[in-house]
Amino acid sequence: MTAPGPAGSEHPAPRALARRHRLRAWEAIPWALAVAFYFAFPRHLGFGTELLVTILFALSLDLVLGYAGIVTLGHAAFFGAGAYTVGMLAKHGIWNEPITSLLLAAAVAAAVGLGSGLVLLRTRGLTLLMLTLCTMALLEEAANLAHAYTGGFDGLDSLLIAPLFGVFEFNPLYPKTQYLYVLAVLFLCFAFVRTLVYSPFGQSLTGIRENTLRMHAVGAPVRARLVACYTLSAAIAGIAGGIWAQANAYVNLGTLGLDRAATVLIILVLGGYGRLYGAFVGAVAYMVLSHFLAKVYPTAWQLGLGLLLVVIALFARNGILGIGEALGRRFSAPRAAP
């Protein structure tokens, strides 16, 4: 099968490597579903918008956790930084054009990511985990104390966001504009992350995750790579936070809280990390489940989620997508590999 021929494209290994970034047909499915949702459930677009924002946030976490192997419990720091950037600019009448506000939110979150990353990413493991948590807690407390600017515990509400492109109004009761806007931003961010993870840079992040010491030994500037990845991920999380603030027209301390950081981590583990689409599957599974469980068992719905998570952690370490991959392998095994 594999004749020892000359190096080049005829060998299966380089061919597989050269093909792995190609778009697969099934990758159209989530986007088609997202567009279909818009037409099928016009009354649930608020839920849909929240779902898309959550996917975007989980995607940013996947970049650091799933690819670079940075374990963080403080990713909401960047979500909140983005959300408060948009909120404070709008509330104080400084700037409320949605797209440029989002770019500012990304820049601010990236700056927080860069600053904290330069310090945090000197550490690893449990220390790193604790420090990410501390960074987020510090930001949350700062937002709580700076009442005059951030609204403190009450947050900032009734934000006036300018119409998108000067035309499309953000209507909180009928969030058609929000849904399509968030979908478009998610698509752009996803295209960026997807490009990044298949690039040599993404490959080197995988290398750091798989064996940090060896990456040092091949001359990789490991910390600089991690900081770069952390900063990019922070920027995307900041976009998610900023767009959440725009879509909901308010910001509160919850955007910076442990609840949000832990939830997004659960979502990513549930869907399967290091897989790009784990963010999609996890967010849908989590939000749909919590929606229905809350209806059926209004007092104990979190128990059901907790049980599911225990089952995933015990029996399916790679999440729902991991189960799918394992089943796919089982069914395709008897057939010849293409």
Partner: protein, 258 residues
């Protein structure tokens, strides 16, 4: 002119008075060591003699307590590991340190991409960097590994994994190659592939090999340094070392080798 054993100019790699203490333990004691370009040099010594500490000092994994490391006459004592790699010092590890979840090709790709400065690029897909892929495949061919290129490391027998260790180091195109027990853990039935690979290394590379395996050392080395308790105990040609009664007493006698 100088005699051929001591070529003019500074040696490829040199240490001067190198010391490293771990608490009260002197893991390296006043080591003066020279590795010439194209050398095939072995460091032997009993367990705990400080051999791996020496490799870690040479590669910049740890800092010396005192003394200096010089590469072609330039003091690199303060240069960090990743920078030393760029200057041409590569190593393999006593225990495999590979990217176990990745394919053999991807493992080598990692080293070649770093050396070529491709790794920071974020836009073009990694698989389309033909220069990197082809160089990696070429390297795998010289080590007779091309058929394993698509296999994950975790699917390979240990001996072949050791070859991937070597392939990654060679992907860095080093001038100095430090091999820390290259045949460690390899079953004897497979060890010949390691020996052949070492024998086939490019001539111009200065190779330092650290090993317990006397067959490998005496077959491969043109010069041997014996370390005992962190210090250089003796140094010389394989014949001199084999004939040195002190060395036989502390080391070779126990290694069951005449």
């Amino acid at each position: 002119m100088s005699p051929p054993s001591a070529p003019p100019g500074p040696p490829l790699l040199e240490t001067r008075g190198l010391c490293r203490n771990f608490g009260a333990l002197a893991a390296a004691r006043d080591i003066d060591f020279r590795l010439e370009a194209g050398a095939r040099h072995a460091v032997i010594g009993p367990n705990g003699a400080g051999k791996t500490t020496l490799v870690n000092l040479l590669t910049g994994v740890i800092r010396p307590t005192a003394g200096a490391v010089l590469l072609k006459g330039r003091d690199i004592t303060g240069v960090v590991q990743a920078e030393r790699v760029k200057l041409g010092i590569a190593r393999t590890f006593q225990i495999n340190r590979l990217f176990r979840g990745l394919s053999v090709l991807e493992n080598v790709y990692m080293a070649v991409a770093e050396r070529r400065g491709v790794a920071p690029s974020m836009l073009r897909p990694a698989g389309l960097r033909r220069d990197v892929v082809e160089e990696s495949m070429h390297l795998l061919e010289t080590l007779r590994l091309p058929d394993d290129a698509g296999h994950r490391i975790s699917e390979l027998p240990y001996g072949r994994q050791r070859l991937v260790e070597l392939a990654i180091a060679l992907g860095l195109k080093p001038e100095v190659l430090l091999l820390d027990e290259p045949a460690a853990g390899v079953p004897s039935a497979e060890s010949h592939i390691i020996l052949e690979a070492i024998a086939g290394l490019p001539k111009q590379i200065g190779v330092l090999i650290i090993d317990h395996d006397m067959d490998l050392v005496f077959r491969f080395a043109e010069r041997i340094t014996v370390m005992v308790s962190g210090g250089v105990f003796a140094s010389g040609s394989p014949k001199e070392i084999a004939a040195n009664p002190d060395v036989r007493a502390v080391y070779l006698g126990r290694a069951d080798h005449g």
